[in-house]
Symmetry: C2
Subunit: 264 residues, 2 copies
């Protein structure tokens, strides 16, 4: 693809998005805060040498087509209003927040919208865009088509923005990501306390996820709770040293199998 | 490898173990109940044509080196005592239970032990033995060495059996497998109720697990609970229609961030 784009912010999302857009052939300029410039430029030299980092708005290309704002939610409007006076052409300003309305920048920029990829980004891990939902909506049809094209070329899953879908996905993601991760934290704690390496369970974790992806999670539930195996549950509750962990074990077991309620 | 082995039971573990042992070059005979023979033989013809299924003990090879009992926990002793009178040579009888002591078959067989692979098996999914802990201990050193060799050739992780390690791994696995899967069930329920396809979150699930495997789960926790983001938590609790789901959301959030306690 051809064209120039600006990214504001070089955090986890900005980092991976800039790499991906560069990969598509776009000319990418990343704008960062002067205070953060040196350390980010160092990161960039090591991991993404073809990304141009600037901290002075006057060094931004005047003919950029898109400005992707990958800053924190509470900095979106400030960043947009500051840059919209610098960039004179009709660039489309996009926020990438999962919880802000698509038209968050209405009144601040002439051409605005949302480009929100739903996933968990971190600089340390390579990012696979395949199948990742990207919520898109802009005030301008032409910009929107181009963004759908970009998302398509990334092999991600472009979705016309829908606030209700985004909101329920966010709630579901708390269970799927945060709460799932917490179950892994607990498993890790139990083993660490007994000096048993957590990586004993790495293969089981992979299988757990493969099964849930292959079938539906509800079809592959196993274990003492769903079996109603009181003996094992009682033994496990005894093995947990913290009251709050016993409470957690009990409540999740009851949620898996409501027939256990008031019997544990 | 050379030699003959018998497997008793052709459930999820027996199925994958028989395929793996066959793959190593061993002659595998699987003993199943007469009532189940026809349907299992059909399965075997389709998926594992080189596995010999029998239901009459007199058709078992007399010179088998190992008898892997992959039956349910409460059938291990019965199956062993029945077959030990049929198989006259000094075959080593092995159970594959995660919760029975290694010497469960003492007094029933002359040569006995445990060969317990810790993972979740299902016939529908190909099984990757790489790194899978296999707990091994037998009454006979020679058998034990051979089993370590087998586990090694499967690229699994052979571990000298230790009941305490097995017990704590089992408890940790309830969190890592059963409870994690339940979080996915909840995410699925939330989306299904709103007619949003669950597979929107497949990429996020993969990332969640990659991160936890790459780093440690406790280092990669994100979300409203760990941030102490009361506004989002309150909104999410409102969105959950079931009291028990709100209770679950609340308790896990408090477990992630104890400072939330009695504030939700």
């Amino acid at each position: 693809m051809r064209g120039k784009v600006i990214l504001v912010g070089f955090g986890n999302v900005g980092y991976h998005l800039s790499l991906a857009l560069k990969e598509l052939g776009l000319q990418v300029t990343v704008m960062v805060r002067p205070q953060a410039f040196d350390s980010l430029a160092e990161q960039s030299r090591n991991h993404s040498p073809n990304i141009k980092l600037v901290c002075d708005p006057s060094n931004l290309p005047e003919d950029a087509e898109f400005v992707f704002l990958t800053v924190k939610d509470d900095q979106i409007q400030t960043a947009a209003s500051r840059l919209s006076t610098e960039i004179k052409n009709n660039a489309c300003f996009l926020h990438s927040s999962g919880i802000k309305p698509w038209n968050q920048l209405e009144g601040i920029c002439q051409n605005y919208g949302i480009f929100y990829p739903l996933n968990s980004f971190s600089k340390e891990l390579a990012f696979n865009w395949e199948g990742v939902p990207v919520f898109i909506k802009t005030s301008n049809n032409e910009s929107e088509s181009k963004l759908f094209e970009i998302a398509g070329k990334l092999e991600s899953r472009a979705v016309a923005d829908d606030p209700k879908i985004r909101e329920y996905l966010h709630l579901a993601a708390v269970f799927l990501n945060n709460f799932t991760n917490h179950m892994l934290v607990k498993a890790d704690e139990i083993l660490t306390e007994e000096n048993i390496p957590f990586d004993f369970l790495h293969p089981l974790l992979k299988t757990t996820v493969e099964k849930a992806l292959e079938s539906a999670p509800r079809n592959v539930q196993t274990g003492p709770a769903i079996r109603g195996d009181f003996q094992t549950i009682a033994r496990h509750l005894k093995m947990l040293s913290e009251f709050s962990d016993r409470k957690l074990y009990q409540l999740i077991s009851e949620s898996i199998n409501p027939q256990l309620k008031s019997k544990l």
